[in-house]
Structure formats: structure tokens, C-alpha cells
């Protein structure tokens, strides 16, 4: 059905079928015919990632940075190699600038607790956008409440674009941090980070970028971007759940306080006080999620083999194709920009509640998300309690999107008897 679709325009000519074959999820009889359009929530995992996870557990399960025996050395080695892969993947200057975390949420909490609580004071300002996921909002509400800092919000317009004049207006010498998404998980918007970061640095403010949605889909280079903090989750980028990374520039990490305290984050320990290990280990207290990190490294290998640029093109083509098809459906409203956006489309269909729409599509074996997508500020601004959302990734095909659009028409028909 989809064999002719090529994800790669390179010499390797990897077809969608070749890609899908490598995801055991799609090969299971129970999942035959399932159209999975919720990769923005979590992505499926290729065999290579599952193998790396399994290999750790059956071949060299040992704690890192501790044992003086071969498998412990290998565990440590593979864990640190994974860190280097992450650093390389997002263009960090060195692996020491990568802290392994459970996911983007934990990474933002690290920044809020480790940097925010120690650097913000009453009257300082944090600029944040109304399109942030709760993971990049609630930690800053906490930091603001504890320090007396003030949150300032940048809104967005009808087409889902950030209100840049408002941003420039809010930016002042009081601004200590701008925290902004690289790709909205609801609107698909890709803010003009180059402009935001340039202006922020000109006033002496730092910038945290939430890359949870962007890292899976677009090439990221934190040095070129000049981001101060960058966070992402492993499970959205084909890696295991419970893996992820916090990137921060070396000077920032070196000055930043640890957030968790205990084993292996120390340098020297005395009765009443201790000193900290070097970065990044001073942030990694206790036993870490080794198979998670190693699995994330394998996911990056998998993506590198296909090429993030090719994945980007494929996802963008699917998104354009879906947007064009969806626009032909009567009473269908799309939230967010129509161009230069991520492969995540929020929409509503007439007066059908998104939850009812999702149940209908589920009955046709199509998995989409419905709800507020952990972005209640967006819902408030759009003046809707919830939206439906379809999102695409490298294993999705145009024929799946045809099926999706066909069933949106069917849903309209089914629910029309309600009016």
C-alpha cells in the first residue's frame, strides 16, 4: 500500500515499508491496521532500541561508575557513550553539558530548582509564552512563588504565531529568563527562536528552550541556536520512557546547584558537609536509568541512520498533505499556522466534542489525542475546553492520512444526526 513512498531522497532509498518493518509494534497481529496518529504524546520504538535495552539487562547489567569489573566498566562506558551521542545529536559542545533526566518535565524542574531558586529574586521577571506545555509552566510558577519573581506572558494570534511585538515590549533589564517551546505540542508553531534568543542575550537574560516536540522532527543545534538551556524527552524521539536530557551551557551547569543529593553526586564527604562531583555527575544522584539512557543512544543511532533531515522532510510532507485534505472537510477548524510548522495538527469538527470524535475514530482503529493536551493556557486563549489532535512521525504514511480524512468525513456524517 505504501511501498512506493520513500522517506529518503538519499542514495540509500529507504522506503516507509523498510522503516515500519523495524518497529515491532506495527508487526503485532493485535496492532494490524492500527493507524497511530499520536506520536506527539509518545513515539513507537524500533527493534534497535528494544535490543539495546534488552542487551543491557541480559549482558552487562551492573551499576555505573562503581564496580571494578568488566561488565561494570562496560555499563559505565555505554552510559557515557549514550551521553556523547545525545550531545552530538543536539550539537552540544561537550558531553559534560548533558544531564540525563527522566524527561523534559524533570529537566525543566532541574532548571527551576537548580538555577531558578538560586538566581531569581523578588521583582525579577520570567517571560513565558501562552503556548507552553504545563511541563514548562508549572515549574516556573513554583519558582516565581518561592522567589517573588514575576511571570510575564507572551500571547499568540489567530494563526498561532507568537506576538513578537509584545515579547519585545515585555523584555527589560528585569528579565532574567525567557522560557519558550521550540515547537508547540498543540499548535505546531515553531517560534522565531533566533530572534528571541538574540534579543534576550542583548538584555542579559537567559533562554530555556523546550525541545520535547522539536527534537524528534527537526535538526537541532543548541550552539548555533545559542540556547542556554535545552530540554527534551527520550520517549518522543523513539527512545525509552523515563529517558531524556537537560542541556545547559557549561558555565551555567558549573554554577548551578544540584537538585538531588546522595550517592555518586559527591566529590568529598565529611560529617556535616560535602562537596560536589564535576558536571554532569553532580546532578545525577543515586542509581541512574542506564538502560533508558543507552536505549536513547540507540534511538539516536537509528535516527542518524535515516537522517533527521529526511525525517523532517517526510513529516513536513505528511503535514502539508493532511492540512490540504482536512481543509476540504466542512466545519473542520484547524488551530495553528498553515506553513512552517510541526507535524502536529489540532482541530475541531463542527460541534462534535473532541472526546466523542476520538472515540469514533478509535472505533475505526485510528488513534488520535483529545483533550487539553496539558496546555490549558492555549485552550483558554482559543476559548475551547479541548481540541482533537493528530500527529505524525517517520512511520506514518499518506494512505494512513487518507484513511484518517475519510473517517473524519464519516464522523461528520455519524454525528450529523445529532443536530
Amino acid at each position: 500500500m505504501s511501498g512506493a513512498e520513500t522517506i529518503l531522497k538519499s542514495k540509500n532509498r529507504i522506503t516507509i515499508d523498510n522503516v515500519r518493518e523495524q518497529f515491532p509494534f506495527f508487526q503485532q497481529p493485535q496492532n494490524r491496521g492500527l493507524i497511530y496518529l499520536d506520536s506527539a504524546a509518545t513515539a513507537q520504538r524500533p527493534q534497535q532500541v528494544l535490543d539495546a535495552w534488552q542487551e543491557f539487562n541480559v549482558l552487562y547489567n551492573a551499576n555505573s561508575h562503581r564496580g571494578a569489573y568488566k561488565i561494570a566498566e562496560r555499563a559505565t562506558d555505554e552510559y557515557e557513550r549514550a551521553r556523547a551521542k545525545v550531545a552530538d545529536f543536539i550539537g552540544a559542545a561537550s558531553p559534560e553539558e548533558i544531564v540525563f533526566v527522566r524527561g523534559a518535565t524533570e529537566a525543566v524542574n532541574f532548571a527551576a530548582y537548580g538555577w531558578g531558586l538560586h538566581n531569581l529574586k523578588a521583582g525579577d521577571e520570567i517571560i513565558i509564552t501562552e503556548m507552553e506545555h504545563h511541563s514548562n509552566l508549572i515549574p516556573w510558577q513554583m519558582a516565581a512563588q518561592k522567589t517573588g519573581a514575576v511571570l510575564k506572558f507572551v500571547g499568540f494570534d489567530e494563526t498561532g504565531m507568537l506576538n513578537m511585538p509584545q515579547f519585545y515590549d515585555l523584555l527589560s533589564p528585569k528579565t532574567r529568563l525567557i522560557t519558550v517551546t521550540h515547537m508547540s505540542n498543540v499548535l505546531g508553531t515553531i517560534p522565531d527562536l533566533a530572534a528571541i534568543i538574540k534579543a534576550a542575550h542583548a538584555t542579559g537574560a537567559l533562554v530555556l528552550v523546550d525541545g520535547a516536540q522539536s527534537v524528534p522532527h527537526i535538526p537541532v543545534n543548541v550552539v548555533e541556536l545559542d540556547a542556554d538551556f535545552y530540554v527534551f524527552s527520550g520517549h518522543k524521539v523513539l527512545g525509552p520512557m523515563g529517558s531524556g536530557a537537560l542541556y545547559a551551557r557549561r558555565e551555567i551547569l558549573e554554577k548551578m546547584e544540584p537538585v538531588f543529593f546522595g550517592g555518586s553526586m559527591i566529590s568529598d564527604v565529611d560529617y556535616t558537609h560535602s562537596t560536589w562531583n564535576d558536571i554532569p555527575w553532580k546532578f545525577e544522584a543515586g542509581t541512574q536509568n542506564l538502560p533508558g539512557a543507552i536505549g536513547l543512544g540507540a534511538a539516536i543511532d537509528f535516527i542518524n541512520k535515516i537522517g533527521i533531515g529526511n525525517i523532517h522532510r517526510h513529516d513536513r510532507d505528511l503535514t502539508d498533505y493532511a492540512l490540504a485534505g482536512m481543509q476540504g472537510i466542512k466545519d473542520l477548524r484547524i488551530y495553528g499556522p498553515m506553513h512552517n510548522r510541526g507535524p502536529v495538527i489540532s482541530f475541531s469538527l463542527g460541534a462534535i466534542h473532541p472526546h466523542d470524535l476520538a472515540t469514533f475514530l478509535d472505533s475505526r482503529n485510528i488513534a488520535i489525542r483529545s483533550g487539553h493536551h496539558c496546555a490549558k493556557l492555549i485552550m483558554k486563549r482559543l476559548r475551547v475546553p479541548a481540541t482533537a489532535r493528530a500527529s505524525f512521525y517517520l512511520y506514518n504514511t499518506k494512505s494512513e492520512i487518507d484513511e484518517f480524512i475519510h473517517n473524519l468525513e464519516n464522523a461528520r456524517e455519524y454525528f450529523s444526526k445529532w443536530n
Binding site: P354, H355, S370, G371, K376, P385, W418, N419
Partner: protein, 142 residues
């Protein structure tokens, strides 16, 4: 699974024409129910006299299941004693969760929600108003 088992005629009817929609004036109890998972919200207001629910109304927004469930619930508990309402809560909850056989004899239109048990993600929708009612009843008994 046949979708019509979930979206039964009675449910669609109540969704299109919700009964007791609005707020009871001079209510004895006002309770807010929220489903943080999907953003659905409901405000339930009641008047209770001599242990009987004399007036009840609901406001809010949500999916067909949550709105229809609230509408049917208000009709079914109006005029009932607090004990009877509590018993209906227990029967209804058990039914939509699919926790064993439930005698639907006294349940009237509430039985239309039997199909919900096949849709685990929709159980919370059907229970939104009922959980608000439970809170209201507990508060009232204090």
C-alpha cells in the same frame, strides 16, 4: 465494537436537549465537578428538603456522554431521598465500570449507559456528574 451501543438514542436525545440545565436558585449545595483529563466541567446545584432532593440542575460543558449523563441523572434523582440517590450512584458506578451484574430494574433511562463499560476511557465522562453528586451528598450529610 458497535459505536451505537455507546451512543444510544436516549443519550443523544439528552445531549441535544439537556433537562434541568442551569442553576437552582437558593441552592443548598453547589458542587463543581472536573475531569482534568479532558477538560470537562460541571456545576451541580441542589435543594434538599426533609432528606429529599427537591430541585437539581447542572451547568457546564463536555462531551455527549458527560452531558447526557448529567441530564439523565438530574431527572432520576429529583424527588428521591438522599439514601435512594446514593444507592443509584452505587448501581450506576458499578454498571459503567462493568463491575459485575447490576439489576437495572429501578434504573430507567440510566440503563442506557450500560454500553459505557466497553469504553474504559469514557467511564470518567459518564461519572463526572455522579461523582459531583456524591460529593454533594457527603457534604449534605455532615
Amino acid at each position: 465494537m458497535e459505536l451505537d451501543n455507546l451512543y444510544q438514542e436516549i443519550i443523544l436525545e439528552h445531549y441535544k436537549h439537556p433537562r434541568n440545565h442551569g442553576a437552582v436558585t437558593n441552592a443548598d449545595v453547589i458542587i463543581n465537578g472536573k475531569n482534568p483529563f479532558c477538560g470537562d466541567e460541571i456545576v451541580l446545584s441542589l435543594k434538599v428538603k426533609d432528606n429529599i432532593v427537591t430541585e437539581v440542575a447542572f451547568e457546564g460543558h463536555g462531551c455527549a456522554i458527560s452531558q447526557a449523563s448529567a441530564s439523565v441523572m438530574t431527572e432520576q434523582i429529583k424527588g428521591k431521598s438522599l439514601q435512594e440517590a446514593k444507592q443509584l450512584f452505587e448501581q450506576f458506578t458499578k454498571m459503567v465500570k462493568g463491575e459485575g451484574d447490576v439489576d437495572t430494574e429501578n434504573m430507567d433511562e440510566l440503563a442506557a449507559f450500560q454500553g459505557v463499560c466497553d469504553y474504559p476511557t469514557r467511564v470518567k465522562c459518564a461519572l463526572l456528574s455522579w461523582n459531583a453528586l456524591k460529593k454533594a451528598l457527603e457534604g449534605n450529610q455532615k
